[in-house]
Amino acid sequence: MNVGESMNMIKIGDIELLLDRYYFTQERSHIWLMKGENQDGLFKMGFSPFLTRIAGFLSYITIDAGTLTQGAGMGQYESAKFVNRFFAPISGRVIQTNNVVLEDPRLVNTDPYGAWLVAIEPSNLQQEIESEFILTDAADIEAWAQGEMKLLEEQD
């Protein structure tokens, strides 16, 4: 397993994890969460490259919850004949969905960090960001990613 780290990124094998965002790991999730560039308090979320490494090309994504509860189901994605659920990284309200990505889910495969899915207005951020399932620190992200990569390699 090759591990590399630069100022803004950790590289585990062929997976690059940007450090300008958080990672939500509950229920085998591979979700990134990032404060939007505007000062509107919104957070964008998307899928990390680990997800596409496991699932392959995504063909369909649905978001079926407008009001989110941390850890509860918020949508599904399909790839290779299999529909997986995914879970809300934080509680709040979906303010915007990225319809470009929902119409062409392959963008998640080609640009996982650009292909955000929804913008969320958090309702309980201060408390929820402390969750053991939200990784904010580079060392924690690296340790988790190494564990995930080990699992993937064992499975391959």
């Binding site: 699932a55 063909s59 369909y60 599904q76 399909e78 004949k81 299999f82 529909v83």
Partner: protein
Amino acid sequence: MTLNLIKAGALPFPDSQLSYHAMARLGIQGLLLHSTSDRFLCLGSANDPKDELDLEFCKANDINIFRRDIGGGTVLLAPGQLFYTIVLDRSHPLMPRGQYAIFRKFLEPVVEALSSLGVNAYIRPTSDIVVNGRKLGGNGGGEIGECVVVAGGILLELDIELLSKCIQSPNEQFRLALLEGMRNGVTTFSSLPEDKPTMMELEDTLAKSFQKLMGPMTEMKLQGAITERMAELAPHYLAQETMFRKGMKVNGRVVKIREGHHMIKRELPMILTNTTSITQLGVQFEWKDGRLTGVVFDSPELQKHSAPLNGLIMERIQITDACRKLLTGVKLMNKPSIDAEVELPLASAFADVFILGLET
């Protein structure tokens, strides 16, 4: 904890599908074996009936539609097929991570059961059960509630002609090509030289084989809490808004005949059609082990130049490059050749078609 074995017999539409949706929501784990007394079309979660089906034909022929919550494509379910469905909690120790591993694990007992009936079957990734290169059964899966569901069927018989009429085709030529493709790509127990087992023999063999993997199971009936939940779920699954909710966006018609064999008709981007006279790309292609093994274009002119594609790895850059070679010098209608400035985007659009097949 012992898992459950339900041998439900022939279930009518839509109980055939509601049964495992109910089991998963209730967390009732185990194996469901059943057939169906009705013929109906069962669509994957992402398949939009308006894009997939000839709805007028289905209506005129009393063929119902069910849109399940799990993945996979559109299938015609009918008497003469045996269905197996595994329902297990996401955190069950038998449940691997990722669908590729899930299909590998839970399709192995199907291959083993067929082997014990004298049929030399194998798994063609992602999830086809194949005999002599032809599909004998397909599978799909997904998460419902807290459970993972893997569902598949074995074809003892299949009315391929009927299926080809149910599927939306842009024209009769496409449908006939689809029918021929399906006849070459799909097989049934009835057309194999081996003795066709009875439904009960096949069911017993599958049950034994799955129990080797999943441990001895306790037989239970499809009744009580499961049938109550099925009744609760029925209005949702039979509602028009569930059936016809927006599905996966598909540009053109993509029909997967079996793993590794696609028929695609696709409109090309306007910017390209304005300058090339090609408006639609129609192609059938096959691949094996990630390589293109056969390409048949609708256009004879394209077909004549298709050699660079054969044997290629199904990878975007290589395919785009080969499509550029293919397009160089191709003469279509009054155009002497493809314009240089659209050669790359057109090649890229062609490559998209092949990559789309790989991803479907």
